[in-house]
Symmetry: D2
Subunit: 140 residues, 4 copies
């Protein structure tokens, strides 16, 4: 029996500073949105980048991708859904779907791959056990 994965969802409005002269959200800002959602996801799970940094761990991004389906405009209420698409020993791939919460239109979807890295050596290292456990329910 298939048990659907949990998805983490959060909502926020497009600010004026997110837009560009085409009067839509600048394409680079979706990656800021993705990261903001990742940050809220971690708070939801009970930790922050600062906590892991104190334990000597960074999570540098190694790959990012986004497809733009429909433009988002100033003041639009966006809903972003995060799922864990791939959870490996040293890396994790988060998938994101951005929808307009009012129209339910899909605006963009993408992903970001991060690795756990030792702050001193800058080498890839294992994602801590307790974080892995917290991520598992959100795996596809």
């Amino acid at each position: 029996m298939l048990v659907p994965a949990a998805a983490f969802k959060t909502s926020f409005r497009v600010t004026w500073a997110d837009t560009d002269a085409a009067q839509v959200v600048h394409y680079s800002n979706y990656f800021r949105f993705f990261e903001k959602v990742e940050e809220e996801f971690y708070r939801h799970l009970g930790f922050t980048f600062t906590d892991t940094a104190k334990r000597g761990l960074w999570f540098p991004r190694v790959e990012s991708f986004c497809q733009y389906k429909k433009p988002a405009r100033f003041n639009d209420l966006l809903e972003v859904e995060l799922t864990v698409d791939e959870l490996k020993e040293k890396s994790v791939k988060y998938a994101f779907r951005v929808t307009n919460k009012e129209t339910t239109d899909l605006l963009a979807n993408g992903y970001v791959i991060l690795v756990a890295a030792d702050k001193q050596t800058a080498k890839a290292t294992q994602i801590p056990r307790n974080i892995v456990e917290k991520l598992k329910p959100f795996c596809k």
Copy 2:
């Protein structure tokens, strides 16, 4: 006989505002770098987004991708190379390679796909003939 494609290259320094608390360039800013290089490329070819907008044409981005190899830091002199990876009737794919000009290390590579779109109807349309001609020498 293979004739290697021309590449457009430009250089600029990482500003303080490009960096984040990991003391490296924020991953979203590579997409700003890509676009900045695309803008300089167009000026080099003799036109700007403003010119095409006046002719009723947008170039919305439909897909973007980046792989991060090594971090860029404040004041690093970056060299970015743009090539035309794919030139279709209504879309173009630009590939980018970001290197540290002093060390020659590859820092990131990625691409952006844009479509020509009619500003009124928002529908994909043909890339104007004269722009196609200007892009051809930069095709892979």
Copy 3:
């Protein structure tokens, strides 16, 4: 008898993208925070920039100022208070106080002056009566 002015308050967390290599919020981002709070204030009052733009009105900023007292760091919960410092026929001055909601430390204070401007002529014009009425309770 003095009746204290109402203040509009809102809270949000510092994101990673807000920070710079000094591991604090980049000084320019306080102006993004101010505008974000202004946007929430308008929604609270029942309108948006988009609504006024449809009525042919812009609110360009003519002056901005900020004093930085203590740094804000990633994940800090900020509380921003907006008051109307000056309400003239054609312009309004919003004052902002940014505090760390957990420590109650004052982090920054500043202001922004905007004018009502006709979108066609780009000339200063009167702030619409109904907006003036909505702003009055927040005047110092």
Copy 4:
């Protein structure tokens, strides 16, 4: 006899990412421009933030101000002039004038005040002698 102060000048173009939905440069981005010019000024003088950071020194901003005269648009060639408005033992005030290089219109003027601060104690400290000497020719 009055000897006019030297001014440091640099030029760059407005990028698409600098603009907002009013199709002009976002007001917060002038502060990014100011800092970018400050960085080029230091390179011109022969040092960078990184060099001073290695010597245990930060230059946190304590105050910033900008007046917006005319809008800057995508692709506009901006010229920014920096002068040293005030040079104290522990702080320096840089004044900036942003003009459109082609029309020579004044677009914005402003200032930023920074203090020299010890990275360890976070307390204000003297600006190093050799930096003071380099700044003097640019004093009003």
